[in-house]
Symmetry: C2
Amino acid sequence: MDVARLAGVSQSAVSRTFTEGASVSPKTRAKVMKAADELGYGPSIIPRIMLTHRSSLIAIVSGGLYNPFYASVVEALAQAIQKSGSNVMFFSVNHGEYIDEIIPDILGYRVDGIISALSIVSPEAAERCAKMHTPVVLFNNKLSNEWVASICSDNVEGGRQIASLFLKRGGKRFAYIGGKKGNLASEDRFAGYLAGLMREGVTDVAVTYGDFRHDEGYEAARKLLAAKRPPDAIFCANDLMALGAMEAAKAAGLRIPEDVLIAGFDDIPAASWPSFDLTTIRQDGDAMIRRAMDLLSKMIDGEQLAGNSLHLIAAPLVERGSTARAVPAG
Amino acid sequence: MDVARLAGVSQSAVSRTFTEGASVSPKTRAKVMKAADELGYGPSIIPRIMLTHRSSLIAIVSGGLYNPFYASVVEALAQAIQKSGSNVMFFSVNHGEYIDEIIPDILGYRVDGIISALSIVSPEAAERCAKMHTPVVLFNNKLSNEWVASICSDNVEGGRQIASLFLKRGGKRFAYIGGKKGNLASEDRFAGYLAGLMREGVTDVAVTYGDFRHDEGYEAARKLLAAKRPPDAIFCANDLMALGAMEAAKAAGLRIPEDVLIAGFDDIPAASWPSFDLTTIRQDGDAMIRRAMDLLSKMIDGEQLAGNSLHLIAAPLVERGSTARAVPAG
DNA sequence: GGCAATATTGCATTGCTATGCAAAAAAGGT
DNA sequence: ACCTTTTTTGCATAGCAATGCAATATTGCC
């Protein structure tokens, strides 16, 4: 190697200079450092990966960063990973897409683990990872095997809580604005909402979809509110759409919460801005990340998961002004 | 190798099976594939990196994803990189921090290039990268050498435009809410703003700082507006703070734009939501990304940059309701 | 069938760092 | 100065895929 030659020492000496706690004399280290500085050399971790079969790489698979919830989860995850001494590979995928095509890419880098924040993993892809003993943690998913764990907000319970709240606040005509059709989180939130409403005898819930985006939430709400018998309580699959729905309600001349109750899911920062003051279900991103890192590091250390590893994270109701209607007399 | 043994072929045959266009008989390929499937084998790109000195990795260094502008830039960048056949390493840093400490980490992975979205790179760190011939592209920075290019929105001109607009709309008492003190983008925007105002004889501009965050923008504006002689025109270093400032103005019972003009910078989606309708300067993220990818791929292909490589990207004014005051008589 | 042309396969090597082991050097003790 | 103990150093090797080259197998054609 160039540095070794320039410093007049062996390659081992160079390696030891850059290895914490290795046996090198200060003199040698100095010579090596000088040569390294001169050549702009720094050690490569690539051969280490080959030898140790540990890349110190964690893959984050995500997308939809227009949603502040995901953006902050990705950032906090990255920080947690870096703090743990690993580094992050980021794979961008679109909402709801299967990530099967990029799995070979990911595994090709011999990442130590994979955290998928929103994409769908097929059972075959999961099997593939399991065979390579590459642990996987999924957010808001329910798949699991010995190398795949899932961490899920309690979406059903969240939906149920919104239902109770709407009923308590005098909601009469209910609507739901979902994310993508078939999206697990969206469907679970709806399931809980519907169950909560049905328990009180409500049978009719207007359902539309809005792809999780603000503008689609606006549009969906606009249509709902323009109906002959418009809803007076709208639950949205996420906050971004709920904010859009609030805009639509205001544009239609409706007052919130007097004329229409609105609630979302996530508790993004904008939900608490005074202009919105949106009631929502808080997804505890920090708890999800803690749990994910914990599971991942255990699996990386060789600990297989016992059977069904599905972790439900509590998602508490955060009531704000958008549902603060006084209980009506009737 | 296990797969080769199981398939009863040589290691070369396995390699060729997974190499597009290599010479393998269908029979051999089938045997290899069967064995690979059985063992869950997929080729590693790690040895390839050692041989070719190309990792197909691009490092994105960023942070502050709470700002939708950065979140969307990071996501779009990642997509552009993946489309170009490379993959993304993501390094999270805090706003305004020097990234010098993580540069060795980044270079250790032998990334093909680095794109830094908001962190500051010291000249020494830049030199370090240059010595390894690792190209670097910086966003909203002005450093450059033969391996470092900078891509910068025209922040000064943006500030100037806001100044003209405020003057045209009858602003009398001006304020600026900056990001972090010393932040280049924030300072440049202020410099342009100040220059534009001074050209018309304005000498007095109230300046505070808000760390680029919504809540800090709120707080900064609240204080400004509570002063004895409150401003009637506030320019904020980014949209997030401008939205906070709007909230503060509303909370103080002021009408926008009648009582106070407010403008931001970035043109994040929320700026165009009806509740805000915020005048702003649009940062053309797509153009910045296109330029970045273009420069990066040229440098990766060995093309050194000619001298000063500082690229200014036009940042047009987007006027909306928050400055739509009719020209006052006086 | 026999020969040339083509296709397929295996061997051996490359790339760079970490590390066990043995050799060499330095330090410590009397 | 000599021997023991400790520290430092270099050698050699492993890890895995890609590839030039030579060897072998297959095909095509008369």
